[in-house]
Structure formats: C-alpha cells, structure tokens
C-alpha cells in the first residue's frame, strides 16, 4: 500500500487521442469505405468484416452499460430480437422499404428501453442483470405464441431489391463508425464523467450530485438503440428470424466474451475483442459442439491471467490509453511544455 502511494512519481499515462490518432482512424475508415466502393474485398472478406463491425457495436454498447456505468445486462438480445422482427414484419407484412423497417426497429428499441427503465432501474447489480434476462426470455416466449409474428415459425425479411453483401457491409460499417463516435463523445460529456463514479459507487455518486436515473436512462436508451440497429442489420444479412435466434442469450454471451477479452471499461477493448471473437467463431465452426466450450475456456483463461483483458493489460503495462475517458488535472499542452523544459 505504502509503496503504491509513492506512485506520484509513476510514469504518466499517455493518452492517444490527438491529431495523429485521429488521422490514423480516418485513414482506416476511409480505406474500409474505399475498399468496398472499388470492390477490393471478396464477399467473404466483406462478410467477416461486416460481422466484426456489428459485434464491435454490440460490444461497445454492452461495455458502455457494464464497463462504464455499472449496469451489467444479460438482456441486450431483447433489442436485437425486437429490431430483427420489426424489419421482418415491416418488409413482409406491410411491404415497407427496408430502411424504414430499420428506423421503426430503432424506435421500438428505444421506446421499449425507456419503458423498461422504470422497472429495471429500481434494481441494481445481480438483480438488474437477472431481470434483463427474464424480460428477454418473456418476450421470446410471448413471440412464440403471437400470430402477428408467425408464432414460433419464424419470418423472412422481404425486400426487392434485396440488399447485397456490399450494401449490408456499408450499413454495418456506418453503424460501427457512428457508434464509436457516440461512445467517445458521450464519455467526454458531463454525464460521461459521472458514469464512472456511478459504476464505482452509485450512492456516493448521487450524494455528489450525479443524477443516477437520468444518466442510466441516457446510457440504456443509447445502448438499446445501437444494439437494435446492429440486430436489424444482422438479420437482414441472414434473411430469416425466429424467436429463438432473435432473443437468444447467446447474443449476450458473445458481448460478454468480446468485452472481457478485449478489456472492460476501455473504448478500444471491444474492437479487439470482436475481432478475436469473429475469427475464433469462424475457425471453431469446423468443430461443431466444441465452439462454446472452447470460447468459455478462453474467456476463463483471460479472466485468470489478463483480468483487464487484452487492451486493458496492454494499456496498463505500456502506460497509454486510446481515446481515454480520463480527465487530467493539467491540460495535455501544459504537460507537453513541461516535458520540453526538462
């Protein structure tokens, strides 16, 4: 303990969010768009990347809830299923265009999140987690006996012309880019500053003026919205949706895997986690039945040996943070000046 408090002389953390980092990100994103427009990627590559984009988005949202706000949800599949079914109903029952289906799916996700908040936010920790799961299961069960969504028989998404892989890729890429920007900006706001405090101790946070309900609601609605769109795009790619595929707890299992392996409470963690997850998932598809066991084993190994996840551990060891939400007492420019003087 004493030794640790001597840490005022520890190595300062270098935050990578300056111009260089921004340019690197813009180049990567521009390349991902350009590659699509000029047809550089094969459809297979595009399918991998699309999956990665969607899983990053879902992971970032789960991380926003659990890693930054302390709301560990086991029920984000609620929004995936709802949006997936909305697109199916909109396009096949009402012949609406697919983009409108996505928008209605987003709206339904947001409204449902808003309504659930009044029940869910009375609970904390484990109770909150289990309640979110129970709600997802309840909706799944309800859908199985609801003729409007073809009971348990599944629905297909109908659109003419049906979006092709490059178009779905573009949707996923755009969603991922917007999600990253929103997460980054949200964490820089006043509310964002209060989130970490809330995660660490909600009562203490409320007694220094953090409006717990408002902050939770904002985060939950944002997470629901983005997760919903990710789900909609996923099922547009798939073509059909069943209650058991839309509202499956496996969605949450993947999100947890992605965030834990990548690094919970870091902005870059879910990006790395999602890449690892999608590659592993594709590879393990050759070993049906084993894939969940192997994924579980990997998650346990990471928790035991890299409790901060890949990015969390790297950042701690190498004293850097990418797009960190951290606030420092001195402006970066001042620190730079000091370093020059020395």
């Amino acid at each position: 303990m004493e030794n640790k408090t001597l840490a005022s002389v520890r190595k300062p953390i270098k935050v990578l969010d300056g111009k260089v980092m921004l340019i690197v990100c813009i180049i990567i994103v521009a390349f991902l768009y350009a590659a699509n427009i000029f047809g550089i990627f094969s459809s297979n590559t595009m399918r991998y990347l699309m999956k990665i984009f969607l899983y990053i988005t879902m992971g970032e949202m789960w991380n926003l809830l659990s890693g930054f706000t302390g709301m560990t949800s086991l029920g984000n599949q609620t929004f995936i299923g709802l949006a997936g079914f909305t697109v199916a109903v909109a396009t096949s029952t009402y012949n609406l265009p697919i983009w409108l289906g996505i928008l209605i799916g987003l709206a339904i996700g947001v409204v449902v999140a808003f309504l659930l908040s009044f029940v869910l936010f009375r609970m904390r920790g484990m109770y909150f987690a289990i309640a979110t799961w129970v709600i997802a299961e309840a909706i799944c069960t309800a859908f199985k006996s609801w003729p409007y969504v073809n009971m348990g028989g599944g629905m297909s998404i109908k659109a003419k012309p049906y979006p092709k892989t490059p178009e779905i890729y573009l949707m996923a890429l755009t969603l991922f880019v917007v999600a990253m920007i929103v997460v980054y900006l949200l964490l820089r706001t006043k509310t964002g500053l209060g989130l970490t405090a809330m995660r660490d101790d909600a009562d203490a946070a409320s007694s220094v003026g953090v409006n717990i309900f408002k902050s939770k609601l904002l985060v939950y609605v944002i997470a629901a919205g983005f997760t919903a769109i990710a789900g909609a795009i996923f099922f547009i790619n798939k073509g059909t949706i069943y209650p058991d595929s839309g509202f499956n707890i496996d969605w949450t299992v993947s999100m947890v895997f992605i965030v834990i392996v990548g690094g919970i409470g870091t902005v870059s963690g879910p990006v790395v986690g999602a890449i690892v997850y999608v590659l592993l998932d594709e590879f393990l598809a050759h070993f049906p039945g084993w894939s969940n066991i192997i994924l579980g084993a990997i998650a346990i190994l990471v928790i035991l040996f890299l409790p901060d996840g890949i990015m969390g551990t790297l950042q701690k060891k190498l004293h850097f943070e990418i797009f960190s939400q951290k606030r420092f007492s001195e402006h970066k420019k001042d620190i730079g000046k000091k370093a020059q003087l020395q």
Binding site: S8, K190, L193, T196, A197, N211
Partner: protein
C-alpha cells in the same frame, strides 16, 4: 441568523427497521453543530436521511427554507448539502482529481473547465494536491478521509456534513482536522460534525447534540452538554458494554 437546517419529528430507518425516533433539532447558519452519541445510536443514519439516501416515514426536514424531506440525493447536493462518509467511499476506478472533479461538475454545476479550478482548490485545502493523479483506490485511510472532505467541498456546499473524520487519527492529525474545520467555518460554511473525540467537540463546536437510540437526548452549549449526567450515563453505559 436563521436556521439552515431543521429536523422536525423525523422517523426513519432501513426497510422495516426504524432507527430514528421522533428526532428534532435545528442548525443555525454559519455554526459548527456537533453530534455525539454512542455507537449505533443513529448518527450516520441521520446523515443518510439528511442527504436523501433514506426517506423518512414521517416528519419533516427543512434545508435553507425548502422542504427537502422527499427530494432526491443529487438534487439535495445541488441545493448545497455536501457529505462525507464515515467509511470512505471513493470512486476507486478514478483518480483523486477525477473524484473531486465529478463533485464540482455535478454537485456545483460547473462546466468542466471551471470545475477544474474548484477541484484543485479543494485538493490543496485537504493536502491531496500532490497525489491528485493517483487512482483513489490506492490511497491510505487518512488520505481517503481527506478525499471525502475534498469531494464534499468540490460540490461547493452551504452545509457540510462531517462523519467521524477524526476517528482513527493521531493527536497531531486531529489538531490538523480541528484547524481545518475552524478555517471552513471562517470561510462561511455551516457544518454538522459527528465525532467521538470528546475534547475536540467541546472546543470546536457552537452547539452540541447528544443522540441516544435515534432520538435527541440533550441539545445545548457544548460544555454543559458534555458535562451533564444523562450524557455521561448513556455514553459510559454503552462504552462499558462495548468493552465486555
């Protein structure tokens, strides 16, 4: 000067367990109001009711002319009530500076830019300035207590609630705390100070309340309260029990 705070016949507790029984007292603006009483008599619970973590089943709490009995904690903080926790509750994943910055941004409603200065001032006052970039989870107990005060000051309160900030400190450190409280009073804060160190309370407070079993037992000038028979009995009685 008028009262900044009044409790009128407050009954409150946790779930079905009632801890505060018909508690009434009032604090004048600008004074240091001492609260003593045996362990478990409900002093900390009184703070919990005062900041809104628990809502009284009956009775009324008035702060600065407003009925706050049912107001949410965050709003009470913004109205000017700043509290420290007896068992420090830092935001462990944040730096010392960020802990206080949250308070200045959310409690005092500053922009982050202005809050920076407020936070740094609070850190200087509590001698945490040098440790501002350390994760709060790595602080020693004494520093955690300092951080409690710094965070409360960051919210720019009118009424500051100190819950056993001197407990467990050395004689010299207690002197420092007394000096700090005197400075805060001079700076215009009203203060409620829960403490066990008897001497401190006689010297540093304007009024003293002794609580017993969730009720005010005796309220008055510090010395007469401290020297009264009833207070001695309830205090010593329990302390002897404690030793068994």
């Amino acid at each position: 000067m008028g009262n900044i705070l009044t409790f009128e016949h407050v009954n409150a507790g946790y779930g079905r367990v009632q801890i505060l029984h018909d508690l009434s007292f009032s604090v004048e603006e600008g004074e240091v109001y001492g609260v003593i009483g045996p362990n478990g008599c409900g002093k900390t619970t009184m703070f919990n009711a005062l900041i809104g973590l628990i809502i009284p089943s009956s009775g009324k709490i008035t702060f600065n002319g407003h009925d706050i009995t049912k107001v949410k904690p965050a709003q009470r903080c913004q109205m000017g009530i700043g509290r420290t926790y007896q068992v420090p509750r830092p935001f462990e994943g944040m730096s010392v500076f960020e802990n206080v910055l949250v308070a200045a941004v959310h409690g005092a409603n500053h922009s982050e830019h202005d809050a920076r200065k407020v936070a740094l001032d609070a850190l200087k006052l509590t001698e945490l300035y040098e440790k501002r970039e350390i994760p709060a989870g790595e602080l020693t107990l004494l520093d955690r207590k300092r951080l409690e005060i710094a965070r409360a000051l960051g919210t720019e309160p009118k009424l500051l609630l100190l819950d056993e900030v001197a407990a467990g400190l050395t004689e010299a450190e207690v002197q420092d705390v007394m000096k700090m409280v005197a400075n805060l009073k001079a700076a215009g804060y009203s203060i409620i100070w829960i403490e066990h160190v008897i001497q401190t309370m006689v010297e540093s407070t304007d009024h003293l309340m002794c609580m017993a079993q969730g009720h005010e037992l005796l309220i008055g000038d510090p010395r007469p309260v401290m020297e009264s028979k009833v207070v001695e009995e309830v205090y010593l009685g329990v302390e002897e029990e404690d030793e068994e």
